[in-house]
């Protein structure tokens, strides 16, 4: 594959996702430090709020994108053998997508039932 600027998309996604993650962590983290949920009901109700639910779903999507770009860089830096590299990238990609599906399931479960 030949492109004049290769890797720009990953670079951009990593930066954009980092901004959302930063905002979310500062906002929610700060919120929890000063006003943590005081029990299961309050916690569950808070997570079930549409804004919180969607914001958290977005957080996990951004987190997985950001984590993928980062880990991919690390694997490419240290795993030079092609087979090893493909296996590692595959396992990590699989794991991250599975984490995404798991998080989605948790959020849907908290919003219903």
């Amino acid at each position: 594959m030949t492109r004049p600027v290769q890797g720009l998309r990953a670079w951009g996604l990593q930066r954009i996702s980092s901004l959302y993650l930063l905002g979310f962590i500062l906002f929610v983290g700060g919120f929890f430090l000063v006003d943590p949920p005081l029990g299961y009901q309050q916690w569950r109700q808070w997570v079930a709020r549409p804004g919180v639910s969607v914001g958290t779903a977005l957080f996990f999507i951004m987190l997985l994108v950001h984590a993928w770009v980062g880990i991919r860089d690390v694997i490419m830096d240290y795993a030079h053998n092609l087979v090893l590299r493909v296996v590692l990238l595959g396992v990590v990609a699989f794991g991250l997508i599975a984490c995404g599906a798991w998080a989605a399931r948790v959020l849907v479960g908290a919003s219903t039932g």
Partner: protein, 126 residues
């Protein structure tokens, strides 16, 4: 002219004196790796805490245990360092702080602030 293969190579990272910017950078990578490893753990506790009141209590107890607190301390530092070092990189992307003197100062600041902020958060939360 000598062929490139004759050039001497010395890449023993542990025996090369690393600059403060190199240390900030490798800690950024290390903290990133720790954070990624913690993702499934985070989702697990998220899941259990939302299932029922007993799950919520179990998660609270887990974070009160010694192992849980140690994990929180490590993850707290990983997060603060990774965020601060990341912001430093974002600024460098925008050509802010690229000069070597500024870069060294900001790297030292990021390392120190990462530790201080982590301690502050941990102290506040306890």
């Amino acid at each position: 002219m000598r062929s490139p293969r004759a050039r001497p190579v010395f890449l023993n990272l542990l025996r090369i004196r690393q600059s403060v910017t190199a240390i900030a950078s490798i800690l950024h990578r290390l903290s990133g790796l720790l954070l990624v490893v913690s993702i499934p753990i985070l989702i697990y506790f998220f899941d259990v805490s939302l299932r029922d009141a007993r799950g919520f209590a179990m998660v609270e107890a887990a974070f009160d245990s010694i192992a849980g607190r140690l994990l929180l301390v490590i993850m707290c530092w990983s997060l603060t360092h990774h965020m601060l070092a990341g912001i430093r990189f974002l600024l460098i992307d925008l050509d802010v702080g690229v000069e070597i003197a500024t870069a060294r100062r900001s790297a030292a600041a990021v390392i120190a602030l990462g530790l201080i902020l982590a301690l502050a958060v941990i102290g506040f939360a306890l």
